[in-house]
């Protein structure tokens, strides 16, 4: 078999009907952006799953590295006062 040039990989994001933000649904191969959106229509919206499609070439996505897991998220770990349950209020104040 001759070594062919593969179509690049695209990551596909779809916004559903109910006003939620675009969500990553998977990836696919396509020759360019327009082609990626057409393929995404066939591969990821066969049952009316979306009203808007984003296609981003996979190589253009910057991702945090798994080894950063600790240092990246540690600063948030001890800040429990960022959560509403940290503040105990009297019942008289009602729902707040």
């Amino acid at each position: 078999m001759t070594k062919s040039k593969e179509w690049p990989l695209w990551e596909i994001f779809i916004r559903g009907q109910h006003g939620m933000s675009h969500r990553h649904v998977g990836s696919l191969h396509a020759s360019d952006a327009e082609h990626a959106i057409k393929n995404a229509r066939d591969v990821y919206t066969r049952r009316n799953e979306g009203v808007s499609i984003w296609a981003v070439e996979a190589k253009d996505i910057s991702a945090s590295s798994p080894s950063d897991k600790g240092p990246l998220y540690d600063p948030a770990r001890d800040k429990i006062y960022r959560h509403p349950t940290f503040y105990v209020l009297p019942e008289e104040a009602g729902n707040m």
Partner: protein, 331 residues
């Protein structure tokens, strides 16, 4: 099942205390139910095993289009034709989800196809049986997709994130496949003419044992299972799933008025399960190693589609390159 014979390292499962620190930390993550993601460290054997399993699974979805594609132009009504077309299109989609998930492990799509076409990677033995009559479309949807669902539902919890996510999507779509098959069977076996009933029974007779084989060899002969189960890339043993399939399918056959082609089939009051005859494992080994009734046809059809499509793939890429050049020149 869709991945019936995934060869592993052949070694047994290493106990935690004998593992090196990296392997041990990895196994403990899996034991805690954490998902492994593509960029995470993983043992080579885990990666290799998963590529083999997902490759087989994806290839099965793609090759699985062929026996049903055979009947699209000959469906008895326009509605049935539309249903079948939608189902076969779903199978293509399912193949694509799993290929993309497999590619996150570092194998390319071209390599995956190359290994299918060269016979290095397998696909499920079930697709090497011919679909001779329209009743086979009923039997395939009901039994083959039924068996597939049984395997894929637990795989939604598998340890590799992209594989688990692909399974969630697939399971959502798959139940229509089984229902449309059973619907065909109801029409033929329950409401049909004497000839249609005979065709339904004939299809059932031919697909029963091949469907049981989809779960892979008996546990006592399944040498690769233990490690896969420790890694949670296989969630149940072959025999567990096969039993579950029989237990669910027999009452469905009874409803249709069809006879299970097994004279030893009997409900066992003690175990609460059906006792049944094992499929012919020699036949299974024969089919999986390339000598089934349709192995040659299926692979030839795949290779022809790939080779005939080469000019389209190259043309699309050349066009995209040219467009990008033009845009660059205009700036």
């Amino acid at each position: 099942m869709y991945a019936q014979m995934v060869k592993s390292t052949g070694k047994g499962v290493q106990p935690l205390e004998e593992m090196g620190p990296q392997d041990r930390a990895f196994q403990e993550r899996i034991d805690r139910g954490e998902k492994i993601e593509p960029k995470d460290w993983m043992p080579d054997a885990y990666r290799k095993n998963l590529i083999r399993q997902m490759g087989q699974h994806a290839h099965s979805e793609i090759v699985g289009q062929l026996p049903e594609g055979n009947w699209i132009t000959r469906a008895p009504t326009l509605e049935r034709k539309a249903n079948l077309l939608a189902k076969v299109q779903d199978e293509a989609g399912h193949g694509l989800y799993i290929y993309c998930a497999a590619e996150t492990l570092g194998i390319s799509r071209d390599e995956l196809f190359e290994q299918l076409h060269s016979g290095k990677m397998k696909y499920s033995s079930i697709f090497n049986y011919p679909t001779l009559t329209w009743a086979d479309m009923g039997a395939v949807g009901w039994l083959v997709d039924g068996a597939a669902i049984m395997n894929q539902v637990p795989l939604q919890r598998t340890s590799f994130g992209p594989y688990a996510r692909a399974m969630v999507r697939i399971c959502k779509e798959e139940s229509f496949h089984q229902r449309q098959g059973y619907h065909i069977m109801i029409q033929m076996a329950k409401e049909g003419t004497a000839d249609q009933k005979r065709m339904a029974q004939d299809a059932f007779n031919r697909f029963w044992y091949p469907a049981l084989m989809m779960f892979g060899p008996s546990d006592k002969d399944s040498v690769h299972s233990a490690q896969s189960m420790a890694w949670k890339i296989k969630m149940n043993t072959n025999d567990e799933l096969r039993q579950k399939f029989v237990d669910e399918t027999v009452p469905q056959a009874e409803y249709l008025g069809l006879t299970v082609p097994d004279e030893h089939l009997k409900f066992n009051d003690e175990t609460g399960h059906y006792d049944f005859s094992e499929p012919d494992w020699d036949e299974f080994m024969d089919v999986i190693s390339g000598n089934g009734p349709c192995n040659t046809d299926r692979l030839e059809a795949r290779k022809k589609a790939w080779n005939d499509g080469a000019w389209v793939r190259e043309g699309m890429m050349a066009h995209a390159d040219k467009k990008a050049q033009r845009k660059l020149a205009a700036e």
